[in-house]
């Protein structure tokens, strides 16, 4: 067996897993509440990252500098970009999903219309931000690293892990302890009963999209910063991983998405370490997805039976 620096591998796995988990909780939230698969989530992830980049650099690559020469510090840009991503999520819902609600084939056509929206978002991003690779300027956050055991973790990667933890805890608290969270869970359980109880179901749908997309945008920002790579197709690889993660964890389950994210991250890193090649890294997600569909289709933490679409 090759000489493996285990602390480093585990840190790498935690880093990748945090990014996957943060991306996937947005997926799973929409699936839990509306029973639909939002295939434009990856485009929101990409747009969130670019939005933060624009606010930090004060420049839109394809169009020129922002009016007034605004340049924001990273933390403020992140918050604003998450808000923008959340609003884009509401727009996405109004355009691609709301008109289809009530149609008998709403799940099916919703997937297609969200694919269409993903194409449109990607086209806009290619226009505004140009197709080539962009990155956050050096010094956006301090460049150092912490060491744990024999492993090193740069601040930007540490930020991904911390941000994922904080945001997921906040989301869980919101869902579990607030009245709004209770309303979301009620709508997820049964929209008709929820409406009879006086819950504004459409508003809950919009808010769920806002939450899901803001988290997806955050995943794009932090991961894009950590790997220094932003481009209009950056969402496509993470999309598959996000889907594998929510199936792994159980569709609609937030803790499941987190568990699935870390499992996938660690498995990927382990496979690279053991085989000494990263060539097949991107295929791991599919293999896990396939295994779980064969062995336990409801996912590791999925309590509900397999749902009908």
């Amino acid at each position: 067996m090759p000489d493996i620096n285990w602390s480093q591998q585990i840190l790498n796995g935690l880093f990748a897993g945090s990014a996957y988990a943060l991306f996937a909780v947005g997926y799973t939230l929409i699936f839990g509440v509306l029973d639909i698969l939002n295939l434009a989530h990856q485009a929101i992830y990409m747009l969130g990252a670019f939005c933060a980049l624009v606010l930090v650099t004060g420049n839109v690559a394809g169009l020129g500098p922002l009016p007034g020469g605004v340049k924001l510090p990273f933390w403020l840009a992140t918050i604003l970009a998450m808000l923008v991503a959340g609003l884009l999520g509401i727009v996405l819902d109004r355009i691609a999903f709301a008109p289809l609600r009530g149609r008998p084939d709403t799940h099916f056509s919703g997937m297609i219309s969200s694919i269409a929206m993903a194409l449109i978002f990607e086209a806009l991003a290619t226009w505004f931000f140009l197709p080539q690779r962009s990155q956050f300027p050096l010094g956006t956050i301090p460049g150092g690293a912490i060491t744990i055991g024999q492993g090193a973790l740069s601040y930007s990667r540490l930020l991904v892990i911390v941000a994922a933890l904080v945001l997921v805890v906040l989301l869980t608290a919101l869902l579990r302890f607030t009245k709004l969270g209770k309303a979301i869970r009620a709508v997820a359980e049964n929209p008709k009963a929820a409406r009879l109880l006086g819950i504004n179901v459409e508003a809950i749908y919009s808010f769920s999209f806002f939450l899901s997309s803001a988290l997806g945008g955050a995943a794009g920002i932090f991961y894009g910063l950590a790997i220094s790579r932003l481009d209009p197709t950056m969402g496509r690889t993470v999309e598959l991983k996000g889907l594998a993660v929510i199936i792994l964890g159980g569709m609609g389950s937030v803790p499941g998405a987190v568990l699935g994210g870390y499992l996938l991250g660690l498995t990927e890193v382990l496979s690279v370490a053991l085989t000494n090649t990263s060539n097949y890294r991107d295929a791991i997600a599919f293999i896990l997805l396939f295994l779980i569909l064969v062995l336990r289709p409801s996912g590791l933490l999925g309590a509900r039976r397999v749902r009908e679409a």
Binding site: A96, G102, D105, I112, L293
Partner: protein, 296 residues
């Protein structure tokens, strides 16, 4: 009206659209058709260049291999209902790309060039006619009704004694065969293939053909493929070239997205629903409407 190359492309795209139609007709969204097309193209090309097989045997192999892969992927995913096929098939394309890039025989990321041109115009016409005949015969057959029943309501279909998993698998495997056929024919027409030709964009293109044409009647996908293949050519004429500038990349993506979105929102049964009103999918039963989450 159009040049030979455009007509050939129309025929290939029509085959691809029919391949997507087969799964849609059964109520399944498969995003693996581009991957099956890629498998057909690569299997065919490698057999032609490295094994020197005759063309008919190459085509046969390029049809059979995707069918085998479809059985392997389809068995675990199709016994489940809902979105699992879409997810698993989305993944298949990614895995295929990874495998092709890492295998020696496939030429890695650069792909394979200098493939001898073996596909004749009549091959394409013949393939399309056979595919059309089969999908036409499907309608009104026992299997066709089973597909329709599954699309309308899988639970009811199963209650009626229809082997839903079996029929979904048949649709998926047949669709893989057609995609493989289109892939091998296209590879032997255009000299060169690369792994990038069979990714997400190609998958969505094919889906757009089928959805725009209409997926509830067999000639809808062909209509969609022909129209959408012709569209860039029409827009590229002198008059419109300056207005649209379709070469720039993102505009094509945007156009595809907007067309797909508009059709799914306003013409859910595609263009064919405009003039096949009497064959349209019946309005949902009252019970079904009550079961749907109607939100107004």
């Amino acid at each position: 009206m159009f040049g030979e190359s455009v007509r050939n492309l129309m025929a290939i795209n029509a085959l691809l659209a029919l391949s997507v139609y087969l799964t849609l007709a059964c109520g399944q969204l498969s995003l693996a058709n581009a991957a099956f097309m890629g498998i057909g193209a690569y299997v065919g090309t490698v057999l032609t260049l490295q094994a020197g097989w005759p063309f008919w045997a190459v085509v046969l192999a390029a049809v059979l291999v995707p069918m085998v892969v479809a059985v392997i992927v389809g068995l675990p995913t199709l016994r489940l209902r809902g979105v699992f096929l879409a997810i698993a098939t989305l993944g298949l394309g990614e895995v295929l790309r990874v495998i092709i890039i890492n295998l020696g025989a496939t030429g890695g990321a650069e792909g394979i060039s200098q493939i001898p041109v073996k596909t004749q115009g009549w091959h394409l016409i013949l393939a399309l006619l056979v595919a059309l005949y089969l999908t036409w015969r499907l309608r009104g057959s026992r299997m066709g009704y089973a597909f329709e029943a599954i699309r309308e309501d899988e639970t009811v279909a199963r209650t009626l004694g229809i082997n839903t998993t079996g029929y979904k698998l048949i649709a998926f495997v047949l669709s893989a065969a057609l995609a493989g056929l289109a892939g091998v024919l296209k590879a032997h027409l255009l000299h060169a293939i690369t792994p990038g030709d069979y990714g997400f964009v190609q998958a969505v293109d094919m889906l757009t053909f089928a959805v725009v044409g209409g997926s509830t009647i067999f000639f809808g996908p062909v209509l969609g493929a022909v129209l959408l293949t012709a569209l860039p050519e029409v827009l590229r004429t002198d008059f419109l070239r300056d207005l649209t500038n379709l070469q720039a990349g993102w505009q094509t993506l945007m156009l595809n997205g907007v067309i797909l979105l508009l059709v799914i929102l306003f013409l859910p049964n595609g263009l064919t629903s405009l003039f096949t009103r009497q064959w349209r999918r019946p309005t949902p039963l009252a019970s079904e409407q009550a079961g749907a989450e109607v939100v107004t």
